[in-house]
Subunit: 141 residues, 2 copies
């Protein structure tokens, strides 16, 4: 992986926020939506961008796509992500993201990174992500 490509991935705020959150662990798209409070297209596109460049990996889990940092990071990427963490320590936007993530987190620990986790299927009323209103919900409002 070229160094420049890493920096290209880092030169967009949304992607920085995604990576910052990802440093805490795997997550599904709709959780990213909830944490960053950005529209689905935006999240999805930027995750795709990161994915094609190898900064994140993705796997399917039911309806959900779980994104995470690759197990073994190339040295340069590792260094730069550490550097990012460092730089972001004082930046409100990024810290707010982490706070919102933490509020989501209790569920995550038990249920995994999926929107409601793999066990979710067994629970009634927990089928929808609910973090963002669907188009039909929006029409009702």
């Amino acid at each position: 992986m070229e160094l420049v490509q890493i920096y290209e991935c880092l030169c967009d705020v949304t992607r920085l926020r995604l990576l910052n959150v990802l440093a805490q662990g795997p997550l599904c798209v709709c959780h990213f939506q909830a944490v960053l409070r950005e529209p689905q297209v935006k999240i999805s596109k930027h995750l795709g961008y990161l994915r094609t460049r190898g900064l994140v990996t993705a796997r399917r889990e039911g309806n959900w796509m779980i994104y995470e940092l690759p197990a073994k990071l190339p040295a340069e990427l590792r260094t730069n992500l550490a550097c990012l963490q460092d730089c972001v320590r004082e930046q409100p936007v990024f810290q707010r993201d982490l706070e919102r993530l933490r509020k989501l987190a209790p569920g995550l620990a038990e249920n995994g990174p999926g929107c409601c986790g793999p066990t979710r299927r067994k629970r009634a009323g927990a089928l929808r992500c609910g973090d963002t209103p669907s188009p039909s919900d929006r029409r009702k409002a």
Copy 2:
């Protein structure tokens, strides 16, 4: 300075090379040309890019423009430049630049960062940079 802007500055190889060289000390444009072996427009434009974003400062010295890293760097920039240094340690392109810089360096130590240094004016035959042929030279060839 926004973090993203730093990364925007870092997402071009030429600029990475410039910064890598600049980490060794101030330098004039024609020395950059010699070290990077890139055309003048390219060097000048990228230095301009870095300058408008505050990553480097410039001062005039006779005909020469001396570029250097600002005395007191913002924390994020400092961290990222250190990180860059680290990442680049094993990369041939960047190391070759530093070698070529070192070959130029003896003159630099005594004469300063200008193409032939401030004292140059007093020496005969040392008025031209000579690292890159001028258009008229090229016509002759």
